[in-house]
């Protein structure tokens, strides 16, 4: 498939967004939602952190979705993130082989989230990053941000988004905790507020 252009005239008014509320827990999280990487894949990275509100308090009912490319920068086309069991109607989990690139997890009672996925490759002029989408009670419209992986300073210095946000770029770059683990806190408001994005 090939992109031949972006959207033309937008004639139909959109459906407004609403908060995910506090009670999605029996519906949206699914088994292995955070285990995006195929089992034992050598390019696996662990990303994790806290979601914090404007008082610096952890947000225990946030939902974090990640979406990213393969290590070679290509976009996954595989389905199967939330495979269902036709016999029981429950979740089977991923098959541990295919990489869908997408996952979902909820923060725990400490406001902590995590995921294991494949190290994203660079696309276009961008340094490697994972697309992040945050939902929470109290958040009337979800928030997009990006989790950039540290390491390649040349690529980070040339990144079109990071070069635009000045001192706030550090909120978009995860901390290397060694052994392929990266810390990325999401601050919804206040000091050190994460850079959030809107797409046009």
């Amino acid at each position: 498939m090939t992109i031949t252009g972006t959207s033309g005239p937008e004639r139909v008014p959109p459906t407004p967004s609403h908060t995910v509320g506090p009670f999605y827990g029996h519906a949206l999280p699914f088994r292995d939602g955070e285990e995006i990487a195929p089992l034992g894949h050598p390019d696996t990275v662990t990303v994790h952190g806290y979601v914090l509100d404007g008082a610096g308090s952890p947000v225990p009912d946030a939902l974090v979705e990640l979406w990213g490319p393969r290590p070679d920068g290509t976009v996954p086309r595989a389905d199967g993130s939330l495979r269902r069991d036709p016999a029981t109607g429950g979740h089977l989990g991923r098959n541990g082989v295919e990489f869908t690139g997408w996952g979902r997890g909820q923060t725990d009672a400490n406001g902590h989230w995590y995921a294991r996925t494949l190290r994203p490759g660079a696309r276009g002029r961008h340094a490697p990053y994972l697309a992040v989408c945050v939902f929470a009670r109290g958040l009337l419209v979800h928030l997009f941000t990006r989790l950039y992986l540290p390491g390649d300073e040349t690529a980070l210095a040339a990144d079109p988004l990071l070069t635009r946000v000045g001192d706030r770029r550090d909120t978009l770059i995860a901390d290397d905790e060694t052994d392929g683990t990266y810390r990325f806190d999401i601050r919804l408001q206040g000091e050190g507020e994460t850079v959030f994005l809107e797409f046009h």
């Binding site: 459906t15 009670f23 961008h126 809107e198």
Partner: protein, 261 residues
């Protein structure tokens, strides 16, 4: 210091009216129509500490067609079990309540159908209680109703759920706060930029003017788009009442052409 007076419905109604008047004035002064809520909508108290104060950083996707956000995760038949779109058949017995059929189309802003994408729904039972442990509302649980479903849109972007009509329920935004009956929707488009989570309401609910979550959509026409329409052609004789709810995704999307097919 004396304890603050508890917030009443009247207080919240006044705040809602003030936010609405401010929006009407902004538009009269030439500001654009706001299709979505503002994230800092004080009548919904949970928004106070959970909205960014810095402006969002705008990304012009036309300059950068390589963005991974212009693609969407894929979902397929193996992600859906047979009873996933019939919330009345997920247990051994029938749930209590008024059976409804909810159907509509998933479209982008050019009116094109979004095919083969995932729609997830969740809701309270007919008594207004969620099957969620943190739920504190003292209404009965229904052992035959979980209230979660999912489906894929078809070639016309159409989806269909069978469920029961959810009840309204109290919450703790202010004294006497009640949510109008609603079904939560989570939807994917052809691009991750189009991701949407929203709520569908039922026609003519008397709680509408008092609900700060629905009223956070300050534009009257936009708010109306969250209300399903009764559609007799969707009603199933001697089984269910039909409601139509079309979902239109916002946000830029790439235009795709299939190669080699």
């Amino acid at each position: 210091m004396p304890a603050p007076m508890p917030l009443t419905q009247q207080d919240i109604d006044q705040e809602i009216a003030a936010e609405h008047a401010a929006y009407v004035k902004r538009v009269a002064d030439g500001a654009p129509v706001e299709h979505h809520p503002r994230r800092d909508y004080a009548p919904y108290r949970s928004s106070l500490l959970r909205h960014p104060e810095q402006p969002l950083v705008a990304i012009d996707t036309r300059e950068d067609p390589e963005l991974v956000e212009l693609h969407s995760p894929a979902f397929g038949e193996r992600d859906i079990a047979e009873a996933d779109n019939d919330l009345t058949r997920q247990h051994t017995g029938q749930p209590i309540g008024e059976r409804i059929t909810v159907s509509g189309r998933l479209l982008d802003r050019r009116g094109r159908p979004v095919r083969g994408q995932l729609i997830e729904i969740w809701q309270a039972n007919s008594a207004g209680r969620y099957a969620h442990r943190r739920e504190q509302h003292d209404a009965p649980l229904d052992p035959n109703f979980t209230g979660a479903g999912r489906t894929l849109t078809d070639a016309d972007g159409r989806y269909r759920f069978t469920t029961i009509r959810p009840g309204p329920y109290p919450w703790r935004n202010h004294v006497g706060a009640w949510r109008p009956a609603h079904i939560h929707f989570s939807v994917f488009g052809t691009a991750f930029t189009q991701r949407l989570v929203t709520q569908m309401y039922f026609p003519a609910d008397p709680l509408f003017p008092h609900d700060p979550i629905l009223q956070s959509v300050t534009d009257d026409a936009a708010r109306q788009r969250l209300v399903a329409a009764y559609d007799h052609s969707l009603s199933v004789p001697e089984f269910s009442l039909g409601y139509r709810f079309d979902v239109v995704l916002d946000g830029p999307a790439a235009t795709w052409t299939e190669e080699g097919r």
